[in-house]
């Protein structure tokens, strides 16, 4: 600071007296705890106001007594008493003595301004936030978003990994319920939370967790989808022996055989599954389990059923059994497992969900030139993700709204799809308007294949011996994921019906926790202990006022190149884009 006068303790009073002599006005006293001593600064206004301030600085050691200047400036006595309260400094020659009870009462913390504080300061409060609340896996979203904004990518990834084992997969395919819940979604500019997760995964490395001491307990998991893998990861970390049985020749569940590789490159999937294998989890592929009894006979103490929902719902129309009429799940599985699939030139897709879009976009990549989706309601009701629809339209998927199939007319190898026009009626049980057929509005088109994508449900062999509910899903306790059968737990689509990867992760975590409890553990999931020091505070108003909040666009492959194969469409954010996006977050968890 300007006008500093450094004195030692002996010269203090004399220096202050000199200031009085030139007519300086006393302002305040500041004391600082430097660790090994104190610095005391006396602020004076040097001449008649307005005049610059002068600062007399004194250093004293801890335990030393400081001479009071109240003999010169009486008014300084109050500041000196305050300093004594706050720092416990002894004063010599105080003109007014409040006996360390000036600001403090007898129950106030002792010498509160010392460093480190001589009492436990209450940690800053962090509020629950809307984005975080909406994350089924419970990621601390605002923290990692802001860490990415600060360029601290490795820490961001660590924060994500505390809540789930698959940042790479979810950074690409998560439906991101958090974004819909982001406060900025109200202005249509939610933070691109998912893209930032992908950025963190792509730009940072992590160590996988270390399994703790082996417990000697064995758990069998049926199904290697995200639910099964998540549970396996946590159970292995808690020291249990885990074996996954998978019916298909490759692990990954729907992530392998449902989600097309232009959205989820297989390298990413393989890397995350390998990580789980390295944790000591055995994954036995091409191993369909027909009965749980055999598993228990083999010595497993607990079983997790995470078999997903793999059976397509039938359309229930005539001619559906023709071999050119396929089910979406079968179609995608064949595509994904490298089978020879030739849908032909003109493909009709029935349904308006994400799976339907995946089928349509895959068909385009397999050489179809005319892909038409039939959906019985309008775009507003379409359950598929808006961005997905947008991308599909860009790649020239056509969508015929308000149309439903009535018949498939088959003649040897050629087929025709007969559909009927619909109109929207009053809302049905789901709250959406019920589609009603318009009489005599049937029309037919020549197609080379029909792919039905109107939903799927789980299916179980009778021998599992567990109670099922409506829609053929397993009845499991919503918290513990325990089924009607002792030692059998369930997770993922098998319980929820077709849901999402992150819901599968959530239920997988819950199941792992209760299986551990069942096996005599604490049920506390082992997560990496990471220390993340938050540097940044929220300064929402600055951002709200000075920057127009614009959401980043995910750079993507040009449409022409996309259709040449199954190369990944989304290209990932650049460092700059990711940081700017992260900084856009309002950090609502620090809301006053």
């Amino acid at each position: 600071m300007e006008n500093e006068i450094l004195v030692d303790m002996g010269g203090l009073v004399a220096a202050v007296r000199k200031l009085l002599g030139v007519g300086a006005r006393f302002g305040a006293i500041t004391c600082l705890d430097l660790g090994d001593g104190f610095e005391v600064i006396y602020h004076f206004e040097l001449q008649d106001s307005p005049a610059p301030l002068g600062h007399v600085k004194v250093r004293i050691g801890k335990g030393e007594a400081l001479p009071s200047i109240s003999g010169v400036y009486l008014c300084a006595a109050l500041s000196e008493n305050e300093m004594r309260d706050h720092f416990g400094i002894e004063m010599e020659g105080l003109a007014l003595d409040f006996h360390k009870r000036f600001l403090r009462s007898k129950d106030s913390p002792e010498s509160e301004l010392l460093k480190p504080a001589p009492y436990e300061p209450t940690p800053p409060e962090r509020l629950p936030v809307r984005c975080g609340d909406a994350c089924p896996a419970g990621i601390d979203i605002p923290r990692y978003v802001r860490l990415v904004g600060d360029g601290r990518v490795a820490e961001a990834l660590a924060v994500i990994r505390q809540a789930l084992p698959f940042p790479g997969i979810l950074g690409r395919v998560c439906f991101a319920p958090c974004e819909a819940n982001c406060r900025q979604a109200r202005q249509d500019t939610p933070i691109a939370i998912r893209m930032l997760k992908r950025f963190a995964y792509d730009h940072a490395a992590y160590d996988e967790g270390v399994p703790s001491r082996q417990t000697g307990k064995r758990v069998a998991i049926i199904g290697s989808g995200p639910a099964g893998l998540t549970a396996a990861y946590y159970l292995a970390r808690m020291g249990h022996g885990v074996t996954i049985y998978e019916a298909l020749p490759e692990a990954g569940g729907m992530m392998r055989v449902g989600i097309p590789s232009y959205r989820l490159p297989r390298a990413v999937l393989d890397r995350e599954i390998d990580m789980i294998r390295r944790m000591g989890v055995d994954i036995l592929t091409s191993n369909r389990i027909a009965s749980l009894d055999t598993l228990f006979e083999e010595g497993y103490q607990a079983v997790l059923v995470a078999t997903g929902a793999h059976v397509g719902i039938k359309m229930g129309v005539e001619g559906e059994d023709h071999h050119r009429v396929m089910d979406c799940i079968d179609f995608l599985r064949d595509v994904n497992l490298g089978g020879r699939v030739e849908p032909g030139e003109a493909v009709a897709i029935i349904g308006g969900g994400n799976a339907a879009i995946d089928a349509a976009r895959s068909a385009l990549r397999l050489g179809a030139s005319d892909v038409m989706m039939y959906y019985r309601r309008t775009r507003a009701e379409m359950p598929a993700d808006a961005c997905e629809i947008e991308e599909a339209l860009k790649e020239v998927v056509k969508i015929r709204f308000l149309a439903a199939p009535t018949r498939v007319l088959t003649r040897d190898d050629t087929i025709q799809l007969e559909s009927i026009c619909m109109r929207l009626g009053p809302p049905d049980a789901s709250g959406r308007p019920r589609p009603e057929p318009v009489e005599d509005s049937e029309f037919t088109v020549d197609v080379s294949a029909v792919i039905a994508a109107i939903g799927q449900h789980p299916e179980f062999s009778q021998e599992f011996g567990i109670r099922l509910g409506r829609g053929n899903v397993i009845l499991a306790h919503p918290e513990t994921m325990a089924t009607s059968r002792d030692a059998v737990f369930a997770a993922g689509d098998a319980v929820l019906g077709p849901a999402s990867v992150v819901e599968a992760v959530r239920t997988g975590k819950q199941a792992a926790s209760s299986i551990d409890k069942y096996l005599g553990g604490t049920g506390i999931l082992a997560v990496d202990e990471i220390e993340v020091r938050d540097l940044t505070a929220r300064d929402t108003f600055i951002d709200r006022w000075t920057n127009e909040s614009i959401r980043v666009e995910m750079p993507s492959l040009p449409v022409g190149e996309r259709l040449r194969g199954f190369g990944e469409v989304e290209l990932g954010l650049s460092e700059e884009e990711a940081r700017a996006e992260g900084r856009r977050c309002w950090r609502c968890d620090l809301e006053e």
Binding site: A28, P50, D534, F541
Partner: protein, 359 residues
């Protein structure tokens, strides 16, 4: 002669501030006074180290209900000088506007309380009626009646459009008329008020200087300390002359404040007229490093902030010296010699604000 000690406060009908004065009396005459505070110490200086420096803005807003805006202004000016930020011109004029609005609020509130302490109920009502107009302007411009929460690092948070400026202008004229017709004259000339204040609580110019008096207490004793003379925010551009009286007593303090009321209304109107177009906020990146002292003039006088940053998100130290803290020693000098019956009015004449004194 028999000596008695009369406790005055912390609960007292005329002084709703938690200060306790031990009045030592000889008969009815006060011969000594000892203050006791510490009833509402909130540890804000410590909290300011635990908070991030941006969160502190909101904390500073809450040090005092009346000087709220100026507290955050002083704080933000300190941070701005540590980081090295030039605040946009429009924001500086808006800062003046809200500062003066707080001052008008404070002065009217205090004049009302003073009238009430003298038992002059109808005058109290008039003052608070005028205060209500100020609060309405605050609500209209800042969205809040008391804590404006409009200051932030790098500028202000809220702007005013043409229409609002015109409406504020209209209301300020109405406010001025009300002060003219039913407040100003009464405080200046009413014989009762004169009797209760003139010659009471005398603080000589020398005493004021030596005891470090600030604000209206100093200016009523002929000492021209007013931080607005340093030209912070837009006071430099607007031109500012402090209001000084030489009566040295409680009445002079009343006069200083009534005159300042007009001055504030005038400053508000001039700041809105002179306010240039442009942005009200610039983005501030970076963390405060180094130490600085920031001073502003609050309704009650000079406030001093000492800030020390270490380049992180948390301040190393924040020290706040509020005006009442500086006016307590002068109060102790004013009281001896007065009648017990005058003690409340004298205590009130410094406009004590204990919650900010203790922070």
């Amino acid at each position: 002669m028999a000596r008695t000690v009369i406790p005055f406060g912390p609960q007292h009908p005329v002084l709703p501030e938690p200060i306790h004065l031990k009045l030592e009396l000889e008969d009815e005459k006060v011969i000594g006074v000892m203050p006791v505070i510490g009833y509402v110490h909130r540890g804000i200086e410590k909290a300011a180290e635990l908070n991030t420096f941006r969160q502190n803005i909101n904390l500073m807003d809450r040090i005092c209900g009346i000087c709220s805006f100026i507290h955050s202004l002083t704080y933000c000016q300190g941070i701005e000088s540590l980081i090295g930020v030039e605040v946009p011109a429009r924001a500086r004029f808006l800062r003046v506007f809200w500062s003066e609005l707080s001052r008008a609020h404070s002065h009217l509130l205090w004049l009302g309380l003073l009238a009430d302490a003298m038992g002059f109920e109808s005058l109290f009502m008039q003052c608070w009626r005028a205060r209500e107009m100020v609060l309405d302007i605050s609500e209209m411009t800042a969205g809040h009646r008391i804590i404006q929460a409009s200051c932030t690092i790098g500028g202000v948070r809220r702007d005013m459009d043409e229409e609002m400026v015109r409406e504020v202008e209209k209301r300020l004229i109405a406010l001025r008329q009300l002060v003219d017709s039913s407040i100003h004259g009464v405080f200046l000339h009413d014989p009762t008020i004169r009797q209760r204040t003139a010659g009471k609580g005398v603080l000589s110019k020398d005493q004021a200087e030596v005891l470090g008096a600030v604000g209206h207490v100093a200016r009523a004793s002929g000492v021209a300390v007013d931080m607005r003379q340093t030209g912070y925010a837009a006071y430099g551009e607007l031109g500012f002359e402090p209001v000084v009286e030489t009566g040295c007593d409680s009445h002079a303090r009343v006069v200083v404040r009534t005159r300042e009321l007009y001055q504030s209304i005038d400053l508000m109107r001039r700041s809105l007229t002179a306010m240039p177009d442009g942005r009200i906020l610039i983005r501030v990146d970076g963390y405060p490093v180094g130490e600085t002292v920031s001073r502003c003039e609050q309704p009650r006088g000079e406030v001093i902030y000492y800030l020390k940053g270490n380049g992180t998100n948390h301040l190393e130290r924040l020290k706040i010296r509020t005006p009442t803290f500086a006016n307590i020693p002068p109060l102790l000098a004013m009281m001896p010699g007065c009648e017990l019956a005058d003690a409340p009015v004298i205590a009130l004449s410094i406009d004590p604000c204990i919650s900010c004194t203790e922070r």
